[in-house]
């Protein structure tokens, strides 16, 4: 394993040190592994709390700041945070106006946030939760754990964060969050596995001429393994299932093409150059787009595509100012 690490079992604590050093405007609760805005939540502002396993940076800690999250709880690598962590984050940022939990649909995340919400409620904090489940690679059914939550989370945190900043109440914030969540679809592919530091070798073996289609962001294998394809063919593998899953015409959309951590920007742009015309062909009118590493899977080479059907309110809130390490504009 070749990584910038000291002790593979101490990656999270040490990465938090670096985040602290690099972003003096954020606060770090070292004990609870929570990343918070420098300033307390203004009275009356609904607070947004997210979190999840580490290894997906800049998500979520990199999206803490004005116009986006109020706090993020950082679990161990690929392991959702514990209820204590989420509770600490929730209590730290509640101004009395309540807290929205933004949860990605993984059993661990759902259970831990659920317990945290119960504990917070017992402490008198009003908590609403939204669970993002946007990965079309996973067949959905009431009998399964359902779809994974991936890229839509980032777009949701931005849009809903802007609404909270405007002073909307918890019900309105939660309602918009659910609307954005339902409007998003994602699909990921991997050219290599990733290596979990504590494990020290790749999570799965992938021959030199094969790739995984329909991967999540935790190094889990995908839905199928195919021969390595051209960027054009890969773009189709990503766009087609999303378009198919939407079914109805999409119209205006916000699009995110995220690298998974080991894929350089030049390849991401090249891939997006193939994706953009396919989206246009499918009648998806890309109003806003991000290309870059926003939701990663350690050092995995690969990319995930997210399309969120966006109405005018979502676009307006997307354009609102945001000041975080990972997304910044308008201020």
């Amino acid at each position: 394993m070749k990584k910038f690490v000291n002790n593979p079992d101490n990656v999270l604590a040490e990465a938090l040190r670096g985040i602290h050093a690099a972003h003096p405007d954020l606060r770090i609760d070292t004990e609870n592994r929570v990343i918070l805005r420098g300033e307390p939540t203004p009275a009356g502002k609904v607070a947004l709390v997210s979190g999840g396993g580490s290894g997906h940076e800049p998500m979520h800690g990199g999206f803490v700041g004005r116009g986006m999250l109020d706090a993020a709880a950082a679990g161990e690598v690929f392991t959702s945070p514990t209820p204590d962590q989420v509770l600490a984050a929730t209590q730290a940022v509640d101004s009395g106006a309540g807290v929205l939990h933004i949860v990605k649909n993984y059993t661990g995340d759902v259970l831990n946030f659920e317990m945290a919400a119960e504990l917070a409620a017992a402490e008198g904090v009003r908590v609403e939760s939204v669970v993002v489940a946007d990965d079309v690679a996973v067949t959905d059914s009431t009998w399964t754990a359902g779809r994974r939550g991936t890229g839509t989370t980032v777009i949701l945190e931005k849009i809903v964060g802007a609404l909270a900043e405007e002073g909307a109440d918890l019900d309105a914030v939660a309602a918009l969050a659910r609307r954005v969540s339902e409007a998003g679809r994602s699909m990921g592919v991997a050219l290599t596995s990733c290596t979990v530091p504590a494990v020290g070798h790749p999570t799965f073996e992938l021959p030199d001429d094969e790739m995984e289609v329909g991967v999540g962001i935790h190094g889990e294998p995908g839905r199928s393994r195919v021969k390595v394809a051209t960027a054009h063919e890969i773009a189709k593998m990503m766009v087609d299932p999303i378009v198919h899953d939407f079914g109805d015409p999409v119209g205006s959309a916000i699009v995110l093409l995220s690298g998974l951590g080991g894929t350089p920007l030049i390849e991401q742009y090249l891939l997006y150059g193939e994706i953009a015309p396919l989206l246009a062909e499918a009648g998806i009118d890309v109003q806003r787009v991000l290309v870059g590493d926003y939701i990663t899977s350690l050092d995995m080479a690969g990319a995930s595509l997210t399309v969120v059907k966006a109405d005018d309110e979502m676009l307006r809130l997307w354009d609102a100012p945001v000041v975080t390490p990972g997304l910044r504009w308008g201020a």
Binding site: G53, T82, Y106, L111, V138, A145, V196, T203, E220, R223
Partner: protein
């Protein structure tokens, strides 16, 4: 040898479980690599190390022991296994609240309370390819043994055997819960990591009871 299980016996079990998880850490992670995210071994090891550290001060009762174990797992593991194993122990505690030294029936009832808690939290059904596929058969075997007049040694041996069989039976299953469900058909052909750690839980109970001498 006694048919009553003391709090010290239960502490010995938890320690033995920690040791077994540490010993099988890489194996559990390898199972989780195949159909998950390669952390089940380190998750369980981290949690049980924290538990054992808490047991430096001996718990006054079985109820206190399991509350400590459950709370510590919930607050130190994360992932799916943290809340699920945590709930398991948190539910075992109250079931033993009034007993001072549990007999086979009482311990069986506590184990069942724990398993019911896991089902309530995780909503897994038998055959979903989860820890329930080891835990469920284990408590059923325990109850059957008790009904047939078994003592704790015999009941725990029957439960451990059933858990191991349940673990092995997860191999051909297509996962419907947890992270492995994302793989769809590709999840078949691998043993579920949570079922494997649950089998260790029952095996260490059997062994630590037997080792009381």
């Amino acid at each position: 040898m006694s048919d009553v299980v003391s709090t010290d016996d239960l502490v010995a079990w938890i320690r033995a479980f920690r040791d077994a998880v540490q010993q099988h850490r890489d194996e559990l992670t390898a199972l989780d690599s195949a159909i998950g995210d390669a952390d089940h071994g380190s998750n369980m090891a981290r949690g049980l190390d924290a538990v054992v550290a808490k047991l430096e001060t001996s718990p006054a009762s079985a109820a206190e022991l399991f509350k400590t174990v459950g709370m510590t797992l919930v607050s130190s593991v994360g992932g799916a296994s943290g809340p699920l194993y945590g709930t398991f122990f948190l539910r075992m505690g109250p079931a033993l609240a009034d007993t001072d030294g549990a007999d086979a029936a009482a311990l069986g009832a506590a184990l069942r309370a724990g398993v019911d808690g896991v089902v309530a939290r995780g909503k897994a059904e038998p055959g979903d390819k989860t820890m329930i596929d080891a835990l469920g058969p284990a408590v059923a075997a325990w109850d059957d043994a008790v009904a047939a007049g078994a003592d704790v040694e015999a009941a725990s041996a029957a439960a451990a055997e059933a858990a191991a069989k349940g673990r092995d039976a997860t191999e051909p299953l297509v996962a419907r819960k947890g992270r492995a469900s994302y793989l769809g058909e590709r999840s078949a052909g691998h043993i579920d990591p949570g079922a494997a750690s649950s089998a260790l839980l029952l095996e260490t109970l059997r062994d630590s009871l037997a080792a009381r001498g």
